[in-house]
């Protein structure tokens, strides 16, 4: 059953603010093998003009992936997550994320298309401070593989 294309344009309620922790940034940086001082050393980050350590470029996947639960578990949309393949991923920054930031995620469905027996779903997560300062836009394209072979 193809996904209902009328879900295009749907926006989900904002998430609770996510507190960006210094140790979480260090843990993530270590997990990707990045030993850059800006990701680990508060003094180095402050010398570079930041309040605290800076997050690596793909760090916001932690927030956007969690927030996407709203979409993939939306009973009305009815996605079969076991058939989902990650197609494209993009992060567009207004400014780097820094430890101590609080970020709220608003997820939307930008596009749904059906071709070749598969569904293509484009989701967008806008990460902003609770005061409304935009920080990063995360766009994720998912492919839901069809059953017909």
């Amino acid at each position: 059953m193809p996904l209902d294309q009328s879900f295009t344009g749907r926006t989900y309620p904002p998430t609770e603010p996510y507190q960006v922790g210094r140790e979480k940034i260090r843990e993530f940086a270590t997990a990707i093998g990045a030993d850059d001082a800006l990701y680990h050393d508060v003094e180095a980050a402050q010398k570079a003009g930041y309040r605290d350590v800076v997050a690596p470029p793909t760090f916001p996947i932690i927030l956007s992936f969690a927030a996407m639960e709203q979409i993939v578990t939306d009973p009305e949309l009815g996605m079969d997550y076991t058939r989902v393949v990650h197609g494209d991923q993009r992060f567009s920054y207004r400014r780097p994320i820094v430890a101590g930031d609080e970020l709220v995620v608003v997820s939307s469905i930008d596009d749904i298309t059906h071709r070749g027996g598969h569904d293509f779903l484009t989701t967008r997560a806008e990460l902003a401070t609770p005061a409304g300062e935009p920080v990063v836009t995360v766009v994720c394209k998912l492919v839901v593989r069809g059953h017909g072979e």
Binding site: F28, T30, I32, G33, D36, T58, I61, F65, H86, Y93
Partner: protein
């Protein structure tokens, strides 16, 4: 910080990153993506994969490392986007596998933005397409 003076068409030197099963387990924990195809051979084979594969987001994180490495600034990335074209199988060995990154400078804008077009190769196959990173030139 290195001094950047990039020109359109410039080639960036090869960077190679090793990926092992232990890296994937660590990444699963740090990122919150516990999909078993990234740690369970049984599950991966069961869904038709050759075996355990790396998280696409792990490969993308390595692309970020490649660019920040070339640029010499960990906070330089303004925009990073990729398409995942092939999985990165990670065998259960001490060596795991390797992903190799190269890039060419696609554009240098007047306001100092530099666009990198990346190529990511694992076992002779391109694993990313349309891999493009924009950095701010300091």
């Amino acid at each position: 910080m290195s001094e950047m003076a990039y020109e359109k068409g410039q080639q960036l030197p090869l960077q190679t990153f090793r990926v092992t099963r232990a890296d994937l387990v660590r990444y699963a924990g740090a990122s919150g993506d516990f999909n078993p195809i990234h740690w369970s051979e049984r599950t991966a084979v069961g869904v038709g994969l050759p075996g355990v594969i790396a998280h696409g987001m792990y490969t993308m994180a390595l692309a970020g490392r490649a660019v920040t490495g070339w640029v010499g600034a960990a906070d330089a990335v303004l925009d990073i986007g990729v398409r995942f074209t092939r999985p990165v199988p990670v065998p259960d060995t001490d060596e795991g596998t390797e992903v190799e990154f190269t890039a060419v400078i696609k554009n240098v804008s007047e306001d100092g933005l530099v666009t990198f077009d990346l190529t990511a190769i694992c076992a002779g196959e391109k694993v990313l397409a349309q891999a493009r990173v924009v950095v701010k030139q300091i």
